[in-house]
């Protein structure tokens, strides 16, 4: 009787059950993934079934919703030759300012051609034109640079044909004139973007050019130097003793400060490493993961992130906190609904993609025998990672948006978009996770099997922790790839202008399913007339980069953390 046999024995039944459930679950996830992939391959081979009818592919929604600020002739009453049946439309505009009241009549002629567009300018001198020609099925805009509201007294003209829902196709509209080119604190959005670009440039210079080997070596030779630099980093703020503080100056000085701090951290890190002072403690691993070159990049990114988010905040708060208002109010609009949309789409995508992909990767690497079927699946996955994103968009349209056939009928909603993006991320995550699992040394598996682990225990206790850094990195890189994708969502049906916060599960609860994401918002804003919108698009693109960079930074932190925990 051995001494160890006197100990109570662990129940093997539970373990075997977990083994079965584990491998079964993993196989199931692979099968789910495989089903998606096969349907996708089928879709690529036979795209015409998307709308139920052969040969016709219909996008999920029109790009801009009908709203109360656009005069839109979807269906004016015209005869067979395209001539208007009744008179032109008469638009009466009225406004007051300190010089008195004004009234203007504009005659709008609708002609059958498309793409004819004339816009109306309102300014201090009145209206620039009294006659406008507009093509059928086009939009036209009325701009106002007046400081007072303009109202529409009357619209008269041909009776609009009603659409199926009973609403007239010509909408009444209100023109407001809160358009101002200067913010209350005196800084325009162009200036804000200039600050962002400046900080980006400065950070790049600080990160890539400044810390060259020789400087760092000479600084880190003694323990005092990095402390001196740390104090010295406060020096740029002395600039403000002589000069007035402006936003641009403040951020440039802040950049210098952070650059010097990074240099101090780097030299301290090298000093500690070369003198064997690096402590072996989990709690300060995170802190010390920022003292090598990767960590330096992380600092730069975090800083960039902070400046990107806080500059618009300090310059122009509505950019982050407000929703899209309307076409005439660029400066009181913001990326709020787009940001929520991106957040929810990513959330749903990852919630779906990560478990399935990681499960499939584990099954393929650890469990599946190398049969012809697994080789085929492997080839499918590898090829899918390179499929253009628009194809995934069509797949999402057929499977998640539309009903009938394979369609699940979620409509052009966040839920459908999230699932589409999840499918798009799956092959990337599977490949990255497989690579991470493959790089786990054989000796770890052998040593675990050698003391009597089951396959699931080996995977769970030994392989997964070692593969974790690689999997994390791969997953987050996949996320940052899909966060910037616009093409599939255009097909799935994201809107350009959403006036409300999106509801993530509206597709399941019959709510309002419309949504937008940051890339689509950028696209829609660049398509608007008016340089203010273009500036907004530029600002939104920087916000998008900030989201991506923050994701990459998280990936670096996690990777460094896990790597150090395993290797130190």
């Amino acid at each position: 009787m051995k001494e160890i046999d006197k100990l109570p024995v662990r129940n093997r039944k539970g373990r075997e059950f977990i083994e079965k459930v584990g491998s079964g679950g993993l196989a199931l996830t692979s099968i789910i993934g495989l089903v998606f992939l096969l349907i996708l391959v089928y879709q690529i081979a036979k795209p015409t079934i998307i709308d139920g009818e052969e040969g016709e592919i219909v996008a999920a929604t029109e790009f801009l919703p009908i709203s109360d600020y656009i005069l839109k002739w979807d269906n004016p009453s015209v005869d067979e030759d395209g001539n208007l049946i009744s008179e032109p439309i008469i638009l009466q505009l009225a406004w007051d300012d300190e010089n008195g009241s004004y009234e203007h009549e504009i005659e709008i002629t609708v002609i059958p051609q498309r793409n004819v567009k004339e816009n109306i300018q309102l300014n201090e001198n009145g209206v620039d034109t009294n006659e406008v020609t507009v093509g059928k099925k086009t939009k036209f805009y009325i701009y106002s640079t007046l400081s007072t509201p303009v109202s529409v007294h009357q619209i008269s003209g041909p009776t609009p044909a009603a659409n199926e829902t009973g609403y007239p196709q010509v909408n009444t509209f209100v023109i407001q004139s809160d358009v101002s080119t200067v913010f209350s604190n005196g800084i325009s959005i162009e200036e804000a973007i200039a600050v962002m670009s400046w900080s980006f440039l400065m950070v790049m210079i600080l990160v890539y050019v400044f810390p060259n080997e020789k400087i760092i070596q000479s600084i880190s030779s003694t323990s005092k130097n990095h402390q001196i630099i740390r104090w010295l980093s406060l020096a740029p703020f002395l600039f403000f003793i002589l000069n007035e503080i402006t936003v641009i100056r403040f951020f440039i000085v802040l950049n210098c400060f952070i650059g010097l701090r990074m240099l101090a951290n780097l030299s301290e890190g090298i000093f500690r490493l070369s003198n064997q002072m690096m402590p072996l403690n989990d709690k300060i691993l995170l802190k010390h993961s920022i003292v090598n070159r990767d960590g330096l990049m992380l600092w730069a990114r975090l800083f960039f992130l902070v400046s990107t988010f806080f500059i618009p905040l300090s310059v122009h708060i509505p950019f982050l906190t407000e929703r899209y208002q309307d076409i005439f109010q660029p400066y009181s609009s913001g990326i709020r609904s787009a940001f929520y949309g991106t957040f929810w789409v990513m959330g749903i995508a990852m919630f779906m993609a990560i478990p399935i992909s990681i499960g499939a990767a584990i099954y393929l690497e650890e469990y599946a025998k190398p049969t012809r079927l697994t080789k085929l699946i492997q080839a499918l996955i590898t090829n899918l990672a390179g499929v253009p994103s628009i194809v995934f968009g069509l797949f999402g349209l057929a499977i998640f948006v539309r009903e009938g056939g394979f369609g699940l009928g979620f409509g052009p909603s966040i839920f459908a978009a999230g699932l589409t993006m999840g499918v798009m991320a799956m092959p990337i995550i599977v490949l990255a996770a497989q690579e991470a699992l493959r790089s786990v040394p054989r000796s770890i598996r052998e040593s675990a099997y050698g003391i009597g682990c089951t396959r699931w225990q080996v995977t769970k206790d030994h392989v997964l922790p070692s593969a974790m850094p690689g999997m994390m990195t791969g997953t987050i890189l996949a996320m940052s790839r899909i966060v910037g994708e616009a093409a599939p969502l255009l097909v799935v049906g994201a809107f350009g202008a959403v006036l409300f916060d999106p509801e993530p599960f509206a597709a399941l609860t019959d709510g309002n399913i419309n949504f937008t994401v940051i890339p689509i918002q950028i696209y829609a804003w660049t398509a608007e007339p008016g340089h203010e919108w273009h500036a907004m698009a530029a600002a939104a693109s920087i916000a998008l980069i900030a989201v991506m960079i923050s994701m990459n930074s998280i990936a670096i932190i996690l990777r460094e953390y896990y790597r150090r925990r395993l290797n130190s």
Binding site: D5, S443, I444, I451
Partner: protein
Amino acid sequence: MTEENTENDIPPSTRKLDIDGEAEIHIDGLDLWYGTKQALYDVSLPIAKNCVTSLIGPSGCGKSTLLRTINRMNDLIPICRYEGEIVQGETEITAKDADLVSIRKNIGMVFQRPNPFPKSIYDNVAYGVKLHHKPSREQLDSIVEKSLKRAAIWSEVSDRLHDLGTSLSGGQQQRLCIARSIAIEPDVILMDEPCSALDPIATAAIEELILELKKDFTVVIVTHSMSQAARVSDYTGFMYLGRMVEFNKTEKIFSDPDQELTKRYITGRFG
């Protein structure tokens, strides 16, 4: 032509397998293939209880393969298949429905390169115990201490049990791996060139440890060093190209081998 001649010159696996006392494991007529390449030819071997059996032979002769078949580690290689029988007591190890977990619990293994888990020293030893039993905290502490003492590493690590196992030196790591194996008290410990990655001092420590372990465990060791085999083992098997050319008591093999091939190998006049 010459190659064919050497093939024909190889004596078949020996059936002269006498040991004093009881055998812990019987290997009987084992053939093994990697894909289409045969690696073991009709190998039979008794493994004497509470003795050290060493397997020697040139690289690629199948010693490690034979060793890894004893606790079914070769099952991890998908293209590997085998015929023949390995029996431990009443358990047929090579049976199709054999319980791999209890086989590997009863037959521990120490690998060529030290491979502690990337966990603390304490967890390295405790993990295997917790895998199979439900010990209390105190029981676990005492098992860990006892195992580390038996592996002759306790005095070096007793004050830093919660450091990572991978932070130890190579020789210490290997003794930690031995402690991990003996913590679950197997009947047999298989050692696959345990000293090949270690310096002479660490090697001496491990050899001393093997002689100590012999009292409680049956040890099978694969080694490239003939002097090591002569020092530590009671029985020695000489393998060549997948055949068990000769098996006998170690003194007999190293002083007066039956086969000309064995003689040439141990005197270093090989080839």
